[in-house]
Subunit: 495 residues, 2 copies
């Protein structure tokens, strides 16, 4: 979920200086229009990793906009007044009225995540708090509020680097707060529970925006633009108060950095290395599948990827390691008549393996947010809600002991072109290439965006995506097998 916010997004100071004035003016104008209309309040929730620029961003917004119409609230220690009343009372009393903007630091999310990180309660109670937050937000939106939820993110490495840098600089070491030190110890937990919270509370009426906090220019422009676009859309909409889906991505990228173009497509294996590593990973898989701890688990592998990325070949190398009674390969093509008469996920649920078994999905439930989205086979509302449904589905699998590995086999456009051409040449491969495959190439950018959104929204600690550099088939096959083996071993260790 945070992969895209760990790429080191950054923009130049010049770009920032060129863009900021116009953004600032537009934000001010939107703010006055908001006041003028006084039809709805705006609530901005600020959360995320310490040191990712939360405070600086809010300071900047106050500088850019009219601070008389922004009211910043922090919620740390409760006052006597607050302690004597139900917990939500402190939030209610700080709600911004229609026409103005309330920025909530240390809001309901901070409290529940900190509570879980420090072991004050377990997941069930966390989930109750999550429900409470969702009910509150749903109600606020039903009453017309426009809610922005920002998660400022830093990778662990960058957070530690930042702390080290500050510490080594006598002039700036005072900037490190006790919270920073604490979080450097609890980072993993903080991010894990943060992810659980984001996954369950990213709804169409109040989605999360994950913003990488490394670079101040990138961070400021990103937040400013998201606010501006959301505000402008809401000011124009006639139908408020009714919840307005922001049809916005989980992360907004201003620079050209995304997950797919951050892959090193040169990765390759020599024939010898390939054979050795393949043999060893296949033997490892066969052993793991026979391990008696496998009785408590099932294995599901999802294969998605560009056309001609080598899904079939990779699946064959996985299958080759196993007894055919242990696994089933389920190719997903157009749904049958029976499947069309059922909810979307039904055709996948029916193939969920029993404990001890392994199912390979050659394409999968991700079709809805890939091909169906890009080709317009379903309405935007359908693929937008699919992210949440899929996360929920996969959580149910994971809760039942299913080990889930998901692969996106990525090739570049040149490699695909060569492979298409080859297929046309080789008689027994000719059936694998159609006019449609050529047509799909035109939609490369659309697929690229869909893949990015898919990974951002559905790569979770319980079911992470593995992006496989597949220009070299040998490298891809070994990486696939190794990933499956690592996932199984991790699950066995966790038992």
């Amino acid at each position: 979920m945070f992969e895209s916010a760990e790429l080191g997004h950054a923009i130049d100071k010049q770009v920032f200086d060129a863009e900021a004035p116009a953004l600032r003016e537009a934000l001010l104008e939107a703010q006055y229009e908001l006041k003028q209309q006084s039809r709805f309040p705006v609530i901005v929730l600020i959360n995320g990793v310490e040191g990712a620029g939360k405070g600086e961003t809010v300071r900047l917004l106050n500088e850019w906009m009219d601070p008389r119409l922004i009211q910043v609230s922090t919620f740390d220690v409760q006052t006597d007044e607050e302690l004597a009343r139900p917990p939500a009372w402190r939030f209610w009393r700080q709600l911004p009225p229609k026409g103005s903007i309330g920025v909530f630091f240390g809001n309901w999310y901070s409290q529940m995540i900190q509570g879980r990180v420090h072991g004050h309660f377990k997941n069930a109670v966390l989930d109750q708090a999550i429900d409470g937050a969702l009910n509150l937000e749903q109600m606020l939106c039903d009453e017309g509020a426009l809610i922005f939820k920002f998660w400022f993110h830093l990778s662990k490495k960058r957070m530690n680097a930042r702390l080290k840098e500050l510490q080594d600089d006598p002039q700036r070491s005072w900037q490190i707060s006790p919270l920073d030190w604490q979080q450097s110890k609890t980072y993993d937990k903080f991010v894990r529970y943060g992810e659980r919270v984001l996954r369950r509370t990213s709804r169409d009426f109040a989605p999360w925006y994950v913003v990488e906090g490394t670079d101040e220019y990138y961070r400021s422009l990103t937040v400013g633009r998201i606010l501006l676009e959301g505000l402008q859309a809401a000011l124009k909409a006639k139908t408020r108060p009714t919840p307005q889906p922001h049809v916005a991505p989980l992360t907004a990228s201003l620079d050209e950095r995304d997950l797919l173009n951050s892959l090193n497509m040169q990765l390759a294996l020599s024939k010898d290395d390939y054979q050795k590593q393949l043999d060893s990973e296949q033997a490892r898989l066969a052993t793991l599948m026979r391990d008696k701890r496998m009785r408590r688990h099932a294995l599901v592998a999802v294969f998605e990827g560009n056309d001609a990325a080598g899904k079939g070949g990779a699946i064959r190398r996985v299958a080759a390691a196993l007894d055919p009674r242990q696994y089933r390969i389920v190719p997903i093509a157009a749904p049958t008549e029976e499947e069309r008469a059922q909810p979307y996920l039904w055709r996948f649920w029916r193939h969920i393996p029993a404990r001890g078994k392994f199912t390979v999905f050659d394409r999968s439930w991700y079709g809805r947010v890939l091909v169906e989205r890009v080709e317009g086979f379903c309405a935007p509302a359908d693929w937008l809600r699919a992210y949440g449904e899929i996360n929920d589905f996969e959580e149910q699998l994971s809760d039942a002991g299913v080990v889930l590995v998901k692969f996106w086999l990525a090739i570049d456009q040149d490699t695909q072109y060569q492979r298409f051409k080859e297929r046309e040449q080789i008689p027994f491969k000719r059936f694998k290439i159609t006019e449609e495959d050529w047509r799909n190439r035109d939609k490369w950018p659309a697929y690229r965006e869909a893949v990015g959104d898919m990974v951002d929204r559905t790569s979770t600690t319980i079911a992470p995506w593995t992006l496989v550099e597949a220009n070299d088939k040998r490298f891809a096959r070994v990486k696939v097998l190794r990933t499956i083996n690592d996932a199984l071993e991790a699950a066995f260790r966790g038992d």
Copy 2:
């Protein structure tokens, strides 16, 4: 929540025999139309108290409709196949395809309620299960499904009477199942957790219908009619698949019995009895409010009622018992400008008392489902969602130790007429009667319905409604004071 389903609803055999054939024909026709269109599936969930006629009703539906297009599933002990997979798999495999009806006995709700009743888990885990159910239903509805959720209810008294009757009859005693005996012991818990589940899962896209199961004719006609109306509306709607709010009451009443006309309006107190009881209840309240256990609680009393029902007088008798520093009276009239700029519940949240204190609301947040609903001051969608928001609000109060008592002061139309006339005569009371009061009398039936719905949807174990027979002011005042005192004592006992 179950008050309306404990009134002993019944209809005559003749009425049933006269109405059943037409209903049956219409249901069959709707069923064929459903098949014809094959646009969406119908899922009927059957839950409730043992012995309330669940099985008989489903048998009857099968008899009335075409059983080839109804598929009844029961989910008791899991099979090996099911045990080897995630828990939801068993429900997915039984989903009815588009065009047909699936009746689910012993579904997800039975399992979570039984688990909680038998102490296998606490509320937090129950709430997780509730979330899972809501997510599943939301997804099914988004995919076009039409869901009916029936709760068959029997009061404890009636359930025990029924068991006794069967037991004493050697020819029928075999009809008693072990489940029946078990439930006679766990009735209170079953209904308490059942209420929690209903409260949290009654959503516009899949509301609950509570049906009293005492009388088979009443029960059958009620269920048949709800199904028919829901089906016909869905078959006509062009917009499926999108969730369609059934704008239907929680309970449907075919007979003329409702909560308000079940009150004994003759109840009265003599002057002497009144003075004695009033003195004693006032002393009791004063003592309770000074009790040191009051430091862990706050008290909120809500007064609603017909015009001229005597709210003001009752509130004065409550206040008379107390030190003015202990309580505040908040009269709710038209919202101020500041309040209009905030979400609906804001103006009530701001007056929530600190621990140790007492707030009296003279009219309250129920305005939305009473006057605003009846007068059309808000859209149906707004008052429909208000029930859930209010339950959520009151649960937050209760969780924080607030003792909540809610009164509906009921008078009959004659009494109101007399009091209006009196007010016109007495100079210092003349300000209390306006043209509008006279106009409101015309809306008596609409208010009556709104009150019934309000009590059905918001009378909960944590915040029950007390209907006060208020034709006699003396009786009403004493009942109000006694109810407050009993609630405080119960809360103190529970500490």
